[in-house]
Symmetry: C2
Subunit: 428 residues, 2 copies
């Protein structure tokens, strides 16, 4: 039986998960591929660490990156993350004609063009199913199943950590820091959670989806990226009262060839299909000009789900080794995306004003909003006996984000405004 | 540019949809495949019918099946349905070394083994993404993305007609025949709706999913198949009162290498992810031993969604013409499934008894259930002043279906039973 020799960079959660699946499902994988997968060499940081689980009796461990590809493996699996050593390893593998499987969204979002061009030039595989949505087959779906569709929109919950935090805040009325601490305790959030809670991780994934769906490069630094660190329990409960839940949304919409893209917290109506995606789950809702709406849902992270996606890529490379399909395009179209100004996005909006309870306040607020063509759909005003400031919440009809930002700037100059105005869009 | 010559059998809803997508997305498909797709010949029933839309300036129409493959096309797309002419056409194409794309679930469920063996022998493609779930990429997902997983369960809403009817009954309190008439009016149900409402269509699709997930043939005639024709509004509203909705479920569970499979109406807790799949939508919830739970959701029928799936297969064949992947297995394992007796399935249950309102009735019912190890979790008894019979509804704890059937048989002998007992499982 054919042997597929794998070099594995990184033996953390996902690397171990992958090795376990390969062991557990070995006979099944033979039926699927006609091959046996052997993890021959593993690059680790600490060679002295005890390894209760070893991928294969012949596996050797090394701390020296230069050694990893020495034996000319069939496939390099890169799971160390980061954009420096991972970049060097992948580049070296591709140059040697070795196919690569990676879960590295940060690297692909920022240097994907360069690496995919190199893979194309060398005629080898560079697969990355695990980079978006954990075990959810979204990369394959965009490259293959929906290849004949023009994708008009993608709306995703792409970060399980942020979604877990928002779910706990909504359901248990925890504040942000309590929910974050719990996420860290459960292993859903890292010690430094910045990438997750600031929306950066979701934005990396969005950049990859944009490339797969539209065949263009959207410069990562031009994406609108807003995280959830400022979200307060107050807004979550007002939203609930109005029939909405908060989600951290990654979205791209295509309008006459131009793309409007960003990551931002938004309110979703409770009956929206993405509103039910709770806890560490991810989901991606796509619209294609033929298929209509499609949603894919599953675990966005974790050892086995992400390992499953890495394994899917390995199997695909083993089966189609003569005809790799890295991008879903015949010649990777690396043109820059035509970008629609993120602030031109139109949607309904949520406002919470902190005001002094005195006559004329509502009229003044409504007046400024009206000047910017923002009309009010619903309002809540609550007495707050213990506090000096009274919250006033508005839901508006559709308005441009740019106008909303301008209106807020003007409103916050009023002397009856106690705290800066809070604003979130309703899912565009 | 490379030309891909397509012979199309059938120019109804899906065939026209396919031709429209190919036209609309022609430039895009070139970027994806490096080829132009040309529908050269179309087999129709009535040549004199006006054709306001013609796939390509060079397309010719014929009513003679023998003519369809005369020009040795690259791909036959079979969309006429049925199991006789469709079978002959596909067989002939495969024998001539022509790859086939089909949406024909009835044919695949009953004669798939024979046709897939022939395709394997000839080394050509036989692709069928459109046979299950319309535009949802479930076939590709099972063949490729989840190929490294052992699938432990599949639970699907696979028939959009039945789901539309159940949704209308639940939300609008229509009875079955009103909802069916509306489905027919909207084009969701055919003039003869038997295949849809009796669960047969869903069972065809389930047989295909079982083959793809487990690599075994589950004889179609051995599937448990129960439809929704007897479902009454009474049961739907009792279920709602208890926090459940009715769905027509297609399910297979793997237990130690044995498969338990069937199509049946069942109650789903309202917060179950499949409970929110409404109207003509389909969804498939899978569990893999690596990926965990995954759900795919989309339109299960219709010209463009199903056309999108057919196009996905065509694109896949064009791109991977040297390495077709019909089944997801290296050598199609056509062994028969090891079948777990459908009646051995264990779940919670819903009962509605029609009884005379007299002393001792509840005790007698509970007594018989107890004899069969069925214990009651919730009960509703309602006075019904206008009718002689009073409904008594029980939800039970987990019990074997076989025991449930026996208990009902015994209970229905009581003289206080006015109408035969109604029973449905809660989603196992």
């Amino acid at each position: 039986m054919k042997k597929v020799r794998i070099a594995l960079a990184g033996f953390g959660t996902v690397g171990t998960g992958l090795a376990k699946i390969i062991r557990e499902n070995e006979e099944w994988i033979k039926k699927r591929t006609g091959a046996v997968l052997i993890i021959e060499k593993v690059l680790v940081r600490d060679i002295s660490k005890p390894r209760p689980f070893v991928p294969h009796p012949t596996t050797t461990f090394t701390t020296n990156p230069a050694e990893l590809l020495e034996g000319n493996p069939d496939i390099l699996v890169e799971l160390i993350g980061g954009t420096s050593l991972a970049y060097e390893l992948i580049k070296k593998a591709l140059e040697k004609g070795i196919s690569v499987v990676t879960a590295n969204k940060a690297l692909l979002a920022t240097r994907g063009k360069e690496l995919l061009s190199l893979a194309e030039e060398k005629g080898v595989g560079l697969y990355f199913e695990a980079s978006v949505g954990g075990g959810i087959p979204i990369v394959e779906t965009l490259k293959e199943s929906l290849a004949g569709n023009r994708i008009t929109s993608i709306t995703g919950i792409l970060n399980g950590t942020a979604n877990y935090i928002l779910t706990q805040m909504s359901q248990k009325e925890w504040d942000f820091s309590t929910a974050l601490a719990e996420a860290q305790k459960r292993g859903y959030a890292e010690a430094d959670p910045t990438l997750d809670i600031e929306g950066i991780d979701a934005a990396h994934k969005l950049a990859i989806l944009i490339f797969l769906a539209h065949g263009v490069v959207y410069p990562f630094e031009k994406l609108r990226v807003e995280g959830i660190t400022d979200l307060s329990l107050k807004d979550i409960s007002f939203a609930q009262e109005l029939g909405y839940v908060f989600k951290l949304i990654a979205q791209v919409k295509e309008k006459s060839g131009y793309l409007q893209a960003g990551v931002f917290p938004a309110l979703l109506p409770k009956n929206h299909i993405l509103a039910k995606v709770d806890g560490p789950y991810n989901a991606i809702l796509l619209n294609g000009n033929a298929v209509g709406p499609i949603m894919l849902y599953g675990q966005g992270a974790g050892d086995l789900p992400t390992g499953s996606a890495v394994l899917a890529d390995i199997i695909s490379l083993v089966k189609n080794n003569k005809q790799v399909n890295n991008t879903g395009f015949i010649e990777s179209p690396f043109e820059p995306a035509k970008i629609l100004e993120p602030l031109s996005v139109v949607s309904e909006h949520y406002f919470r004003f902190s005001v002094l309870d005195k006559p004329g306040v509502l009229a003044a607020l409504a007046g400024v909003l009206g000047e910017y063509n923002i009309s009010i759909a619903q309002a809540i005003q609550k007495a707050s006996p213990s506090e000096r400031a009274v919250p006033v919440v508005f839901l508006t009809h559709r308005a441009r984000l740019k106008d909303v930002k301008k209106a807020i700037k003007e409103i916050d100059k009023f002397d009856f405004i106690v705290n800066p105005t809070v604003h979130y869009p309703i899912l565009p």
